[in-house]
């Protein structure tokens, strides 16, 4: 039996941990999930400390919440902060089956625990007599030294692996400006430079596409990543509207008959753009 203090602490922490876990599970955006998970981990770190695993608790905070979760967030940012799972399940029966399996598994685990003899807790006071860190150190460098060394190898391998995976081998010398220009002329797809974004900028210029003379969007003017994420701001309607108004006023001012007035068409289909990924593949 534990002290009341620990009991109170446990219930608080348990609620936080489970809440965090459920939050992670249910949040639509990856970044929210990551934050929820961080909360759970912090709660767990406290749980460790409460159970006499001070060192682990600290490690949990430093390594997990500090390093690993940051790594997660970093990747989330890289992939796109706002990328969210669609809630529609595509695999038939997956959701129900997963929930059922989860429930079943939970029931099984709980039943297993309930059936186990978990009455006598020795407590760590004896083991932690010379201090938790010292105790762990003694074990790590004696009994588990071999495993410890192997983990070292594992970490090295992981580091190398990560580098290998994310590293892109340059098999050819990078093309010079001149070669690129020549290439562009040769391909005759987009000879002049791409249009710059935000010519008629009223917003953050990067995600506002340039407009072509007829008022349609020049998608090329927006950077590939944003296009990939579908974050190109739709401005064409608004601009077209304005142009139409302008034309209308001009015509009024000039007193043109309606037949002589230019037809203002709806937004044209976006121009055939050269998707950046094709270029990547071409390289």
């Amino acid at each position: 039996m534990t002290s009341t203090g620990e009991a109170v602490q446990f219930w608080v922490l348990a609620v936080i941990a489970v809440g965090g876990a459920l939050g992670m599970l249910l949040m639509k955006k990856a970044v929210h999930s990551a934050l929820c998970l961080a909360a759970t981990m912090l709660a767990l770190a406290v749980c460790y400390m409460a159970q006499g695993a001070v060192f682990l608790g600290v490690v949990q905070i430093v390594v997990y919440t500090g390093a690993i979760m940051m790594l997660f967030l970093f990747v989330v940012m890289l992939v796109g902060v706002s990328s969210a799972d669609s809630l529609k399940e595509q695999l038939r029966g997956q959701r129900i089956a997963a929930v059922l399996c989860g429930l079943g598994f939970g029931v099984l685990l709980v039943a297993g625990l309930a059936n186990a003899h978990l009455r006598n807790f020795t407590g760590l006071s004896e083991a932690n007599a010379e201090g938790n860190v010292q105790g762990l150190a003694r074990l790590v460098f004696t009994k588990y030294v071999w495993a410890f060394e192997v983990t070292g190898a594992l970490l090295i391998t992981a580091a190398v692996g990560a580098m290998v995976l994310t590293h892109r081998e340059k098999v050819r010398a990078p093309l010079t400006q001149r070669q690129l220009a020549a290439q562009r002329v040769r391909d005759n797809i987009q000879v002049p430079p791409l249009p710059a974004p935000g010519v008629y900028a009223r917003h953050n210029a990067v995600d506002v596409p340039a407009l072509l003379p007829d008022g349609t969007v020049a998608e090329d003017s927006v950077m590939g990543t944003l296009r990939e994420r579908g974050q190109v701001r739709d401005v064409s309607q608004e601009m077209l509207q304005r142009m139409a108004e302008l034309e209308e006023t001009t015509a009024d001012w000039l007193g043109r008959p309606s037949s002589a007035r230019p037809q203002v068409t709806g937004p044209r289909q976006a121009l055939e753009t050269v998707p950046t990924k094709d270029k990547e593949e071409a390289e």
Partner: protein, 631 residues
Amino acid sequence: MNSLIPLLVAAPLAGAALLLLGGRALDRLGHWIATALAALSFALGLALFADMLGRDAEHRAVTEQLYSWIPVDGFRADVAFQLDQLSITFVLLITGVGTLIHLYSVGYMAHDERRRRFFAYLNLFLAAMLVLVLADNYLLLYVGWEGVGLASFLLIGFWQHKPSAATAAKKAFVVNRVGDMGLSIAIMLMFVEFGSFAFQPVFATAGDASEGKLTAIGLMLLLAACGKSAQVPLQSWLGDAMEGPTPVSALIHAATMVTAGVYLIVRSGAIFNLAPDAQTAVVVVGAVTLLFGAVVGCAKDDIKKALAGSTMSQIGYMIMAAGLGPIGYAFAIMHLVTHGFFKAGMFLGAGSVMHGMNDEVNMRHYGGLRTYMPVTFATFGLGYLAIIGFPGLSGFFSKDKIIEAAFAKGGTEGWILGLCALLGAAITAFYMTRVMVLTFFGEKRWQPDADGNEPHPHESPKSMTVPMVVLAFGSVFAGGLFIYGNSFLHWLEPVTGHAEGDSPLSAWTVTGLATVCMLAGAALAWQMYGRNPVPVKAPVGSLLTRAARRDLLQDDFNHAVLVRPGSALAATLVWFDSRGLDGLVNGLAAAIGGISGRLRRIQTGYVRTYALSMFGGTLVLVASTLLMRSV
């Protein structure tokens, strides 16, 4: 002297090998080599004959063991030759007539570019036929039996570019194979019954076996004889076999090979004597064929086919005689020999006529040839007189004896057979007179051939007429020679045995009746064809005539009963094999493929599905483990 026996076979065999392997180099000389080797064989035969005459009757039969052929435990087949009176008779007939026909072919085939091969095949035939008659056991006889079948196949189909010839050749071989099946079953029966199939031991032991077994053996031998000798019901091939060159028809399909069935039955006399039921079957087959062939012979316009019908009929006589038992054996052989002379002579005559008439075979397109081909006319005429049994000529004696023997069979049976034989004699006279009249008498009905050439009948060269003359001599005198003092009978007696029949009619009565029948038949034919003009195009004729023209519907029967169902069966089985059996296999494969295709869908390729199944699997495993432990 006995060591000459293998040489008898070896000479023509070597000729065949030499000519076939020799290549073009032998094109100019090959036919003379072949003829010389056939003559050598004949000379050897004569020498052996002389040697045999020098010994007394008891010691005339000799055997010459060459080597052990198929030595397997409990089974011994030897290559061994047996030369006795019966064999030597055949040897002389085969090599003698064979040599003459070789000679004839030199002229007849002069313009054929494949003459060398023709002679090689002829030599091959001689060798095989000699093996057949010289074998001292049934298995070696079987070798010769099929060997002559092969030679016959090759020679009938000699003009292979003619589809009809190729078909006829195949038909002859396959029908013969049915007969051969009988021979091989007979050999197997003998082996099971006696543990041997050599002539001497089997005949010596035949008495121990049950009559049923012997009857079975006899019937199987009869089947073999039917195939080879073109007897009902395996007669259908002989008419088509006339597709071969005429010398082949003379040698193989008249004088020698087709008589092998008679040889087989006479040779197996010891078995047939103990199996009366089998003998009855033989007699019935012989009698039926003798009428069948005669009727067919009456209706054919193709001179060679008419002669083929006649051959069938004459062999029917021989088979009938052989079926009569010891009374008839010697007469069967006697008729066989005389028939060999006159029928070979007539075929050669027919060949000579065709030679002069641009290979025309339709007798309705002949007529009045006697003045253009005097030698052919004379030799053919003598053969004609011999076959219809004109008193004094060879056919008269041999046929007369058979009719006598038929009557001597006794009882109703004897009467029926005798009357059949007499009727046959009358029909023989009728159709042979018809052939004679249509060909040599009357006015010319010559037709231009397909290329529009008018025929210019002429006498054939010496190499062709000489053999015809020699054979005509044989047709005239052989019978008298044989009958004089019953010399032939006594000659064969050690092999065939002898029995005197008790004829209800006296010998002279039978002779008189036969002569009357003959004259009646000939007169009727003269009345129909000699006195009245012969239409160039065959009239429609009565139902019987039309049936007879179609070989009494034998081919239609075979086609309907055997060929059509057979090919339907083959087609069905082909279908069954590819759709049924193989379909089963492929279906199994397709089913497995289909099931796999279905199962493949489980592998969605989505990691989460796999994770779910792993998770679920773990769940089930853990749960079941826990359950097992709690139980």
